[in-house]
Amino acid sequence: MQILQYLINGIALGSVYALIATGFSLIFNVLKFSNFSHGALMTLSAFSGYFIAAGNGWGLVPTILVSVLTGAAVSLFGEFVAFRRILTHNTSPVYFFVSSITLGTLYEGIVVLKVGANFYNYPRFFGKPYRIAGLFVARSDIIIFCISAAALLLLAYMIRKTKTGRALRSVSFDRDTASLMGINVTRTIQFAFIVSGALAGLAGVFLGINYTLYPTMGSIVVKGFIASVIGGLGSLPGAIIGAMLLGILETTLISIIGSGYAPVFTFVIMLVFLLVRPRGIAGSNIQEKA
């Protein structure tokens, strides 16, 4: 019974990680770099959801909408100020890394300017948890799980079945060839950033609901990073599987050895994992292109 409860907690945690990991993976997929501004983007959109919607007594749906739209818009802006020139001038991809960290600092700085280091709490959108056969299942967890699943299914459909999705896949495979085939590479990359930003906004609201809003909440993006490595860098289904595994793994570790040593074990497991299966669960082996 106890184990079942931990499993439920793990899946609840994992479904938020999955949103983070997919948004993160999407950019990695297209541009082959780890977007460290993703976390701060979540913070920024979650806070705008708070100040524009939830703080004025609007309900859950408007809050999510505001955050998702902010996320998408800011992400597009970020692409323009931090990544576009690097891309068009074909400077070394290592600059993406520095750019993304700095962009994150910028977003966080803007949030701090508005709220200081104070934390905020969304109003309670949900009532008491369900109690099913001795197990506690929070209503928020169920709803978050459903919305995440729906969003990710929609994304999967978009990538697999639509024209834009196909363009996205071809750009991620080889930018230059895609461009020769008549695909507007810049538009496609912008599209990826919009989707990734929308996912960040969604994840931000959910994090805020579960864990309060505070300017450094974006540091949880590290979990998305780890999840996408477990799943295989750049693979979207991999990111989701990795996130679920990480959620369950964390709750299990915590229940067995407590929280103190959990980072140590996570590190050791990660190290072993990289040794045994460096390309992740679902990933193909991405080589540094010459």
């Binding site: 770099f33 780890s34 700095t102 700085g109 990073f225 780890i226 140590v264 590190f267 190290l271 460096p278």
Partner: protein
């Protein structure tokens, strides 16, 4: 100690750590988000050896650096063969793990309350001499055979491999050098502030160092040092702007990356030749006139 020498000492200690990051990131193109954790190992080990075991500094500091290199070897072995992104991830996890251990081992490290009672030994002179020595050694390394191999690996790993360069080995050497240097920076730091706690060594600090290297010029040690001075001094100068500081800093770095991606100095290095030329300028000027 006056405010200036105080800030200068701190900047010089940062120069030591950033020089380590220069070898790793600037020269070899690897990103370590756990570099600050190696600083923590240096700081804590030397601090504990001196305060708890009453060892002399002359033994404690090298021991701390040695331990850090040993740990670096363990972290590095599985990772140098992988894609570069993994190194940043593994080192990030490593940093978290070290912080967790420091918090847990309360009896040895003082836990969250930090390690207190470290004697204050790092003076401005020691910091200056250390920084100068480290910078000189690294500039030697840069122009050595291995240094040039590092740069080759950064520019094009595949081509470097096909030229017969043992890529994992070169990466490992760069990683260990940077670990040793950063750990030494940790020793200097601990014996300067006389207090360390686990929150000082998060990944944000490592990221800050990487930004300093890029800001100065990826391939220029002179640039890294200069940008350390500028970027560490900047927050002090901008103190009156309070909360706008972080934003100005970020905008500045974004501007440099966008419009001068090779950093402030690009590939330019200050060499003894330049200095010599600086002092001989009158003569050179006259020579030009004659021409």
């Amino acid at each position: 100690m006056s405010l200036y020498s105080h800030i200068l000492t701190q900047i010089l200690i940062t120069v030591v750590s950033v020089s380590g990051v220069f070898v790793l990131t600037g020269m070899t193109g690897m990103f370590s988000l756990g570099q600050a954790a190696f600083m923590a190992i240096g700081a804590y080990t030397s601090g504990i050896l001196v305060t708890k075991l009453a060892m002399p500094i002359i033994v404690a500091w090298p021991a701390a650096v040695l331990l850090a290199v040993l740990v670096g070897l363990i972290v590095g072995l599985p990772t140098v063969r992988l894609r570069r992104d993994y190194i940043s991830l593994v080192t990030l996890g490593f940093g978290e793990a070290i912080t967790a251990l420091l918090n847990r081992a309360t009896t040895i490290t003082g836990g969250a309350s930090g390690l207190t009672g470290i004697p204050k030994r790092t003076t401005l002179l020691i910091a200056f001499v250390s920084a100068a020595a480290v910078v000189t050694l690294i500039s030697f390394f840069k122009s050595s055979k291995y240094g040039r191999q590092c740069i080759a690996v950064r520019s094009d790993e595949l081509a470097a491999k096909s030229m017969g360069i043992n890529v994992p080995r070169v990466k490992m050497i760069a990683f260990l050098i940077s670990v040793a240097v950063t750990a030494y920076g940790g020793c200097l730091y601990a014996f300067y502030t006389a207090y360390v706690d686990p929150t000082l060594f998060g990944w944000q600090r490592s990221a800050e160092w990487i930004i300093m290297v890029f800001f100065g010029g990826v391939n220029s040690l002179t640039g890294s040092i200069l940008s350390t001075f500028v970027l560490s001094g900047l927050p002090e100068v901008l103190r009156f702007l309070q909360s706008y500081r972080a934003i100005i800093y970020a905008v500045l770095v974004l501007l440099v990356i966008n419009f001068r991606p090779s950093g402030m100095l690009g590939e330019w290095e200050l060499t003894p030749k330049h200095i010599k030329r600086l002092f001989k300028r009158p003569k050179g000027a006259r020579a030009q006139e004659v021409d």
